[in-house]
């Protein structure tokens, strides 16, 4: 599913977190939002998910204007930095959650839900953990459960907010590779927020560099490395051009 954003603005009090941002993301792309903290990249992601609402501008999913739609209508798969798993539920119940709260007319049968959850656990290579609780798992495992939970409802877009930010370097690299392979296989339109350039350049088809709420540079990793950059981008990437 393609996503189009037109002159999106969002302020918190007097502070503009996202300032007049326009962007088009094509179906099947993996795009990284890269920037220092406070640059507005997470706010933009939350605006796209419907967890925040814009002051100005519009958001389109394909041809549909979703600007005023709530997050539960947009149903963009969202993965949080701190996993946000439901700690009082088992892993099975966590992954099944989105399927169980679906409207009755669209809800899968119990058997189908069971089947889907187990197959997702297999996809994320954590079969056999369905009766555990989130606190019994490691950080890397928890984040993969969060992926599976978001994927269970078959979203048309996946939004990842610093998905590897809370993990140690080794697990980060493993999960990054896994995510890259997953995206190769499924071609699910994905946006992910990161402050780690290595991560952005390795996984993403295109990288969007943010600072102070606006886009500073946009392009494929090669274009960004080789192209002309403004002072902020040069400084941020520590490029010697």
């Amino acid at each position: 599913m393609s996503i189009e954003i037109t002159s999106l603005t969002k302020s918190f009090g007097a502070f503009p977190a996202v300032n007049d941002v326009s962007l088009k993301i094509e179906t099947g792309e993996m795009v990284a939002f890269l920037g220092p903290s406070g640059s507005g990249k997470t706010t933009l992601l939350r605006l796209i998910a419907g967890l925040e609402f814009a002051d100005k501008g519009e958001i389109f999913f394909e041809d549909e204007n979703v600007t005023m739609k709530s997050a539960n209508e947009r149903k963009a798969g969202f993965v949080f930095q701190s996993y946000a798993l439901f700690n009082h539920m088992t892993i099975f119940e966590n992954i099944a959650f989105g399927l169980r709260v679906a409207p009755r007319s669209k809800r899968l049968s119990k058997e189908k839900i069971h089947e889907r959850v187990l197959s997702l656990l297999e996809t994320i290579q954590l079969s056999g953990l369905e009766n555990r609780f989130p606190v019994q798992l490691s950080g890397g495992q928890r984040q993969r459960i969060a992926f599976a939970r978001a994927l269970a409802v078959e979203p048309k877009v996946l939004l990842l907010d610093e998905p590897f930010g809370a993990l140690d370097a080794k697990v980060r690299r493993e999960l990054r590779t896994w995510l890259g392979e997953f995206h190769e296989r499924t071609r699910l339109t994905s946006l992910f927020v990161t402050h780690d350039q290595e991560e952005a350049f390795e996984v993403a088809d295109r990288v969007v560099i943010f600072d102070k709420g606006s886009i500073q540079k946009l392009g494929t990793p090669e274009e960004i490395r080789s192209g002309v950059s403004n002072a902020f981008v040069r400084d941020f990437l520590a490029l010697d051009i």
Partner: protein, 284 residues
């Protein structure tokens, strides 16, 4: 120093908390168990127990609903007047309960703002049960909301946001995510609210007609019996009320234990070795 401090606390505890409780039960049983039990066959006394329970049965669920709604609104949304609402929730704790009662007299009494209208429609609030329920609800309002707000503030709203992006609606999120997470804090607030609702004297005494056998709650009935020199009966009702307080106290302690146990269960399993040796490693 440590011994001295503990000694002071224990002495204080004995003098101000344990002793009165013992005196109440002693007073109740002073003329034998027979007199004690006879007190609870008296129509007026039994009626006061009924009224007390009835008031609590209405006021506590009402405040359970208000409390959840207020805590949800305050911790999950940023809106104009939020700080004011937060301050107003505490109002019943700051003002004397008598004032809480007077507010309703000024509002609904014969000469109050709503008085003429209520009279025209033949609705009695002051000096009747509705007034007692209203004032009790007012006085006990902070308990549920106050025990939930810090809890919900600390938990944050990420899990609820996650549920939202998975397509869950507001009530679904409340039922499946929010309520299970706050259940012990909620239970804690409920029993505190209930204890206060049953024990309230000041506010209720302003709006009750204080007619024994009609509009007297247990605390009001205790005062009447005492003023009528019926000490044994007064202490009997007082001991029943104290018993309710003791039950509340043990339920509260139970809630705290259970909460702690569950919390620690989470903590302990964190320290457990994760499955497949180093759980962080991806297979394949």
């Amino acid at each position: 120093m440590r011994r001295l401090l503990i000694g002071i606390v224990l002495a204080f505890f004995t003098l101000f908390l344990a002793l009165p409780l013992i005196v109440v039960f002693q007073g109740a049983l002073a003329k034998g168990l027979g007199t004690f039990l006879i007190a609870f066959t008296d129509h007026d006394i039994l009626h006061s127990v009924q009224i007390t329970l009835l008031v609590a049965v209405i006021a506590v669920p009402a405040n359970a609903l208000f409390g959840i709604a207020a805590a949800w609104a305050i911790t999950r949304f940023r809106f104009w007047g939020r700080a004011l609402l937060l301050a107003l929730i505490d109002l019943p704790l700051w003002v004397s309960p008598v004032i809480g009662g007077l507010i309703y007299v000024l509002l609904c009494g014969r000469r109050g703002y709503l008085g003429p209208w209520l009279q025209a429609h033949d609705i009695r609030i002051i000096f009747a049960l509705p007034g007692m329920v209203l004032t009790t609800t007012f006085v006990t309002f902070p308990f549920v909301a106050r025990s939930l707000i810090p809890l919900m503030e600390a938990q944050g709203c990420e899990e609820e946001e996650a549920a939202l992006t998975l397509g869950a609606g507001g009530f679904e999120i409340l039922r499946r995510i929010t309520l299970p997470k706050i259940r012990w804090g909620f239970f804690y607030g409920l029993i505190l609210c209930n204890a206060r609702a049953m024990g309230e004297f000041g506010a209720v005494s302003v709006v009750s007609a204080k007619i024994s056998g009609m509009t007297n709650t247990m605390p009001l009935e205790i005062e009447r019996l005492y003023n009528d020199y019926l000490f044994a009966s007064a202490f009997a009702v007082a001991s029943a009320l104290s018993l309710l307080a003791l039950i509340t106290l043990s339920l509260k302690t139970l809630a705290e234990w259970e909460n702690k146990r569950q919390f620690e269960a989470g903590q302990c399993s964190l320290l457990e070795p994760t499955i497949e040796g180093n759980g962080d490693q991806l297979k394949g």
